[in-house]
């Protein structure tokens, strides 16, 4: 079951509003905010496809974000490839590399997987710092400016990322309905049992890793074009992963809309925190404390917690299930009263 169930009408209306927003709010600052919002929707949803669905929590996933960013920046600077079409194409390359990395990495699980995935990110970062011929090292790479008028500079990026976000969430929702998606959930719940009933767990995990990395790579590529200049330290940054993890967990790990909801909360919150505390590094501490609070107080996220609460409330009145009219309800209540000991109220 998808949650909440979105009808076509609402989807259409919502889309029109999202398309109109940049024209209603002309301030470029809002376009930046919107771009960042859709960017986090893409990366958090992509992260969730792997880590939410299979339970393998990767903290090095921005390795593929950074790889996409660098591939796009290098091909743009050397061969003049336009990032708008090269990002989704080069994303395939990122996906293939991710399949290879995932094939090795996914032999580890639990905490070992988390740590090994961080090691992957650090290795990529070190390579970006040291392969100077390709990446020009620590100072980073610049890209040509977009050809369109600077007046609109951010608007096309907003639409591009919005489109990518819709595709990513669509793919994420599609995966949930397939045998493949069921297999991923089975891996999360109990990998050993899943394998014993015939789920090709290794193949499924690696595929999920590759698909997830594809979207990370495309998002990274567009991000690098948007930035105009990228450097290893900020491109391969574990804080990017922290953002995705917080967004997914806050919304609801493993749900379809959780990462989206999380991104809608995190991006404005992050902006506010940066605005209030940005001049010192104390904003990092605020992020950290926020993350601690989410993990300790709301580990299941908003959507899952809400859903469980609703289900519990439904369970409490289960004696009335199926009763349509008041008379039937009374009858059911009387029956419940007569029949044996009271059920414990949860």
């Amino acid at each position: 079951m998808t949650f909440p169930k979105v009808s076509r009408l609402w989807f259409g209306l919502g889309l029109i509003v999202l398309l109109a927003l940049p024209w209603l709010f002309r301030n470029p600052y809002y376009h930046l905010l919107g771009f960042n919002l859709w960017l986090l929707v893409v990366t958090a949803s992509a992260w969730n496809m792997l880590s939410g669905y299979t339970g393998y929590k990767s903290l090095g996933h921005s390795a593929f974000f950074g790889l996409g960013a660098y591939l796009v920046a290098i091909t743009a600077a050397r061969y003049g490839w336009n990032p708008l079409w090269s990002a989704p194409v080069l994303g395939l390359g990122v996906g293939v590399i991710a399949l290879l990395v995932g094939w090795v990495l996914l032999r580890a699980d639990g905490s070992a997987f988390v740590i090994a995935s961080i090691a992957v990110l650090l290795i990529f970062r070190l390579l970006a710092l040291n392969l100077r011929g390709l990446t020009s090292g620590a100072p980073g790479l610049s890209q040509p400016l977009p050809p369109w008028s600077p007046q609109f500079s951010r608007m096309p990026f907003y639409y591009y990322m919005l489109g990518l976000a819709i595709i990513t969430v669509g793919v994420s929702g599609f995966i949930r309905r397939t045998r493949f998606g069921l297999g991923l959930f089975a891996i999360r719940d109990d990998e050993g049992k899943a394998a014993s009933v015939g789920v090709a767990t290794n193949l499924y995990k690696v595929l999920a890793f590759g698909i997830s990395a594809y979207f990370m790579g495309v998002a990274g590529g567009i991000w690098s074009y948007f930035q105009g200049h990228i450097s290893p330290i900020f491109t391969f940054d574990i804080l990017n992963d922290v953002d995705m993890v917080i967004a997914s967990m806050l919304g609801g790990l493993g749900t379809l809309w959780g990462p989206v909801l999380g991104a809608f909360i995190i991006v404005p919150a992050r902006d506010l925190i940066l605005f209030r505390f940005g001049e010192s590094q104390i904003h990092l501490a605020v992020f950290g404390v926020l993350m601690i609070l989410i993990i300790v107080l709301l580990p299941n996220g908003i959507i899952t917690t809400y859903r469980n609460r609703r289900r519990r409330r439904a369970g409490r009145t289960s004696a009335f299930a199926g009763a349509r009219t008041a008379a039937e309800m009374t009858e059911a209540a009387q029956k419940a009263d007569q029949s044996g000991p009271e059920k414990p109220v949860r």
């Binding site: 929590k57 903290l59 090691a119 990092l284 501490a285 992020f287 950290g288």
Partner: protein
């Protein structure tokens, strides 16, 4: 030349051994990889830097102040945060990362991003002597750091082998359920272990402030180094971690000479990745599997 490189490496490795002993102990007892260990290391270094610049306390003496302080912090963090997060090991790792990020923010705000180090009167003193025909040069701070680390590790060893608490800790490492059955208060052992773990890293941090330079962001690089050490040694195995610390201290010094020092950290990351994936039990240690 080679002997000189290896000697310096092993001396550094002794300090590494102290730095990772707590990390290994915490994993052994709680099955928790404490990513915040690097941030606590740097915090310890900052505190001894502070004590040195503001009050003129020698970093090695400052251990007497900051180690007990860190013990209390450790007990608090374990009781207040870590013990509240049940279930998936991944969540606990995320929690310790959150702690690390918070600490980095606080340290960055307090001490800015300037790279600091403690410079005492004896910082640049170098002892030189000859073994046979080979002239060897040893910086005094590295020798002192090595000696102090060995002393603290010996004390830790005595606590673990000769006291009731040590027995309870070792029993919990071997089998938590069985330990609980024979009357070990697991919750208390876990909190105490976390405290001891942080106390050792505080001592490591004091030594660290003498030998290395650091800023708030350094913890990322150091936690990777420390993780690759305990992973290579075998998660949860203290002797394994100590051997791996000496080994990697030597390897690091060697690879900095063979390759450039820019790329040499890749040795650590590759060890971390390859060992976790292909031999999760490390040199000496138990397999790190969900069930």
């Amino acid at each position: 030349m080679l002997v000189q490189v290896l000697l310096t490496g092993v001396l550094t490795g002794g300090v590494y051994a102290l730095m990772v002993s707590g990390l290994s102990l915490i994993f052994g007892v709680m099955r928790v990889i404490n990513i915040a260990h690097g941030a606590f290391l740097v915090l310890g270094a900052y505190l001894s830097y502070w004590l040195f610049t503001l009050a003129g306390v020698d970093p090695i003496l400052s251990i007497l102040v900051i180690a007990p302080l860190f013990y209390l912090v450790g007990v608090g963090v374990q009781r207040g945060l870590i013990s509240r997060v049940g279930g998936d090991a991944g969540f606990v790792v995320l929690l310790t990362i959150a702690v690390a990020v918070s600490l980095e923010g606080i340290m960055g705000a307090l001490w800015q991003s300037t790279v600091r180090t403690v410079r005492t009167d004896y910082t640049s003193t170098v002892l030189s002597f000859t073994v046979g025909t080979m002239p060897l040069r040893v910086p005094l701070v590295r020798l002192g750091g090595f000696a102090a680390s060995l002393l603290i590790l010996a004390a830790l060893y005595l606590v673990l082998t000769r006291t009731r608490l040590g027995r309870a800790i070792r029993a919990t490492i071997q089998n938590p359920e069985a330990a609980q059955l024979v009357g070990v208060n697991i919750a208390k052992v876990k909190a105490t272990t976390f405290g001891i773990g942080l106390a050792t890293v505080a001592a490591g941090g004091a030594m660290f402030s003498l030998i290395f330079s650091f800023n708030a962001g350094s913890h990322v690089e150091w936690i990777s180094k420390m993780l690759s050490i305990i992973v290579l040694g075998g998660l949860g195995s203290l002797p394994g971690a100590l051997i791996a610390a000496l080994l990697l201290g030597a390897v690091e010094n060697l690879s900095a000479v063979v390759m450039t020092s820019y790329i040499s950290p890749i040795v650590f990351y590759l060890i971390l990745f390859l060992v976790l994936v292909f031999r999760p039990q490390g040199l000496l240690g138990t397999r790190l599997r969900k069930s």
